[in-house]
Symmetry: C2
Subunit: 193 residues, 2 copies
């Protein structure tokens, strides 16, 4: 694997940075081989650039993503719950980050907004378990990376086992989303309505 003439120190170090960003799970031996330098040289490079050793990279990725996966997928509620009156209303805040956006446009993917709205609406309902029946939603404005989404949910009506919740989300006091949710509590039989 002898590449073009071997790169200069600077080029090599820059390429190294990229490589590790792309795939952090290679050890010094493999990295050294791919640059066709000795393992010591590669280690000097890592030192100079402050790139941690493989096992620490594993730790970082593992712990970082552990949190992430927990808070993203396992969370009862998407965003941070600020205020809640069970059976009445609730407020949550979601800080948008780059993982929620399309890289090209920096616009936040719709389902993150939906998730915040739905999970907050669900939290407001004073029943053990509920299931989204119908949702009528509208995105009023595109939401950009870094926007802080403030969601307000209000339980507007209960009819039988159906709970009607309205959610409004705004960024800087300007409304960007509204949604009407109907949740069906599962205490009794749930089938076609």
């Amino acid at each position: 694997m002898s590449k073009r003439k071997r790169l200069s120190k600077k080029e090599r170090q820059e390429k190294l940075k990229e490589m590790i960003k792309e795939d952090p799970f290679q050890n010094d031996e493999e990295l050294a081989a791919s640059f066709d330098v000795s393992i010591q040289t590669l280690r000097l490079d890592r030192m100079e650039m402050g790139i941690p050793e493989l096992r620490e990279r594993f730790r970082n990725v593992a712990q970082g993503n552990y949190e992430k996966v927990r808070s993203m997928v396992g969370a009862e509620i998407v965003g941070e719950l600020i205020d809640l009156t069970l059976g009445k209303q609730g407020i949550s805040i979601l800080e948008t980050n780059e993982e929620m956006t399309f890289k090209k446009t920096n616009i936040v993917r719709g389902h993150h907004i939906f998730s915040q709205a739905e999970s907050l609406a669900m939290a407001v309902i004073d029943a053990d378990v509920a299931l989204t029946g119908v949702a009528n939603i509208k995105y009023l404005k595109p939401i950009y990376l870094g926007d802080k989404l403030v969601a307000k949910a209000e339980l507007v009506r209960i009819r039988g086992n159906k709970h009607f919740v309205h959610v409004k989300i705004s960024v800087n006091q300007k409304q960007v989303f509204r949604g009407k949710f109907i949740f069906v509590s599962l205490s009794m039989d749930v089938d076609e309505e």
Copy 2:
């Protein structure tokens, strides 16, 4: 930290399993200390139960979640894209797992279904970038852990920069969800409609 009399081997091993599930980032020394046994005993336990060493656990979590975070958050599409005719229709499949469900009821959280539907609908549109404008959705049946969601999206109309897409999701040929999405392409100015 002397607990109640020290547990039996069986109890200890069961507890160990749980502990590692909860927090996989402890080394043998720490684990041994928390059970008040020697490090060798703890290692025997790990051997007997087939629990890998700390560094391998790091590797597993790192690599598993790396994939997960990439495919969950960064993914262009939620689920696996099976078929796609740009500007016409598309099909995707999403296998539900326990992270998508409420632990108590094993019912899949609504926003996962929504995400599958929205992202598929988006993929069908033959435009560079789009943004969900309005969605009218209905969950027809609860979806349980392990259900395989088959989503079919169809572009039904284009009017100006608005794209109308219908999505149906079914489990075992039975429809469980339908949604109507309107996407607005961003090629020109996007504001109130």
